[in-house]
């Protein structure tokens, strides 16, 4: 009987298989070589970091990374981050392609990625913008590292967080801001008031059942080109309108004046026609007085975003957002036309 491996059919099949295997091996070698070339000169630690990052789900940030200018897209992005966290997937916040960056988006991102209640132990990493200027701003913000409280003199973005109203922090930030804008350390009673009221609102209203439990975040950014300092303040509490709702204020507005839209509710609040959600008549002067600060020229360009409302109070524009923001965001700018005292 003829042996199986000496048949022509077997030989033909075996030759083909050998050829295929050789082809596959050469291809793999080629790929490995190409990979080695790319990684040539890359330090071992970075190689390890790249391998590590490849495990993370990359979430591309909106090109215009500004909460004030591109509110809905940023809210969408945050929702994507949160949904990945809920599925317990490690995340890479991919900022490589962003073309605009403002401190309000940084403070919002900080309040999310540095909040253990939101991140739930899921690993979050990030990369820096390709644009050099934006990269510098971001590195100094400390979002992906220490939170910028050291080596401050060279920083032009400052970040603070707390749960209480801290006059010391407000005073320190104002001194730095005024040195930049007015060329000397000065006092701005209106900015101090706005900061303290914002902090106190977080302490009291962000989580009404738990006083002093919610953290506020604040970034102060110096725009050298325009010689202005912008303040962005945020808490991720329940927001202004859910707080008002709890006191039944909205029901009263609705039944007496037919007001149901939160844009109109905000107008009522800043005009001071609202009773505070604490239900004590003499309270509830915080937001009206922050608005007064704008009227008195203590600061400019005041904006508020909370729940489904985005308000540009300097322009008297009130916008209804298609997406809810659970929290309260305040933004204003200090420039050399604003009121100050030496």
């Amino acid at each position: 009987m003829k042996k199986l491996y000496s048949t022509s059919k077997f030989k033909k099949r075996n030759t083909k298989r050998a050829k295929d295997r050789l082809k596959q091996q050469l291809l793999s070698k080629e790929k490995a070589k190409a990979k080695r070339c790319v990684m040539n000169g890359v330090p071992v630690a970075e190689k390890r970091e790249r391998r590590n990052i490849s495990r993370f789900e990359s979430l591309k940030a909106p090109h215009n990374f500004s909460f004030v200018e591109n509110t809905v897209a940023i809210l969408d992005y945050l929702e994507t981050i949160k949904s990945h966290i809920n599925r317990r997937k490690p995340i890479l916040i991919n900022l490589k392609e962003i073309t605009n960056l403002t401190n309000d988006a940084i403070v919002l991102l900080l309040s999310v990625v540095k909040n253990p209640a939101i991140t739930k132990g899921v690993q979050i990493k990030g990369n820096y913008p390709r644009d050099e200027k934006l990269c510098k701003i971001f590195q100094e913000s400390g979002v992906f590292g220490a939170n910028g409280q050291n080596d401050e003199p060279k920083n032009y973005i400052l970040t603070r967080q707390n749960k209480k109203a801290e006059g010391g922090i407000a005073n320190e930030l104002i001194k730095r801001a005024t040195k930049i804008v007015f060329g000397q350390e000065a006092r701005c009673p209106g900015v101090y008031r706005a900061l303290m009221e914002s902090m106190a609102n977080t302490c009291y209203h962000a989580k009404p059942q738990q006083i002093g439990h919610e953290t506020w975040w604040l970034t102060v950014y110096h725009d050298k080109a325009l010689n202005k300092v912008s303040f962005a303040f945020i808490d991720l509490g329940i927001g202004i309108f859910k707080s008002s709702k709890m006191s039944g204020f909205r029901d009263k507005l609705s039944s007496f004046f037919g007001i149901t839209d939160n844009r109109d509710v905000l107008k009522e609040i800043i005009q001071g026609r609202k009773m505070s959600s604490t239900k004590i008549p003499y309270r509830g002067k915080g937001l009206p007085n922050i608005y007064k600060g704008l009227e008195r020229n203590y600061y400019s360009n005041l904006k508020i975003i909370s729940n489904d409302v985005k308000a540009d109070l300097s322009e008297d524009k009130y916008e209804k957002l298609p997406k809810e923001f659970n929290g309260t965001f305040l933004y204003w700018e200090l420039n050399n036309s604003n009121r100050w005292t030496s």
Binding site: A165, G167, Y192, R193, E197, I211, Y282, R296, T341
Partner: protein
């Protein structure tokens, strides 16, 4: 009429807080209890005006002012007696006096 003076920056703090201690340091309620109320009682007793010098601080939160001066009006259940016996000095912030007067007047509104 003789005068008593409270200079908040010297007698209390340069960085006043908000309303209650639970919200942060140097609250208005503490200022009322420890400084303003005793001095106001003394002023009434001695038939003197109480001057409140508001200058020299970083600024004031509304809730601090309301708790302190509105709180004083609530203590006496009357705005008139407070306004007749208090005087303010505020060169740093020209709006403060009117604000505080408003808080005193509204303090007992139901």
């Amino acid at each position: 009429m003789d005068k008593l003076i409270i200079k908040i920056a010297d007698d209390y703090t340069t960085i006043p807080g908000v309303r209650e201690e639970i919200e942060g340091d140097f609250p208005g309620e503490e200022f009322l209890e420890k400084i303003l109320l005793p001095k106001f009682k003394q002023a009434i007793r001695e038939n003197k005006k109480l001057i409140i010098d508001l200058d020299g601080t970083a600024g004031y939160a509304t809730s601090f002012l309301e708790a302190a001066f509105g709180g004083l009006a609530r203590e006496y259940m009357d705005a008139k007696i407070i306004l007749n016996n208090l005087e303010f000095k505020s060169d740093d912030d020209p709006f403060l006096e009117d604000d505080i007067t408003g808080y005193i007047k509204e303090a007992n509104d139901k």
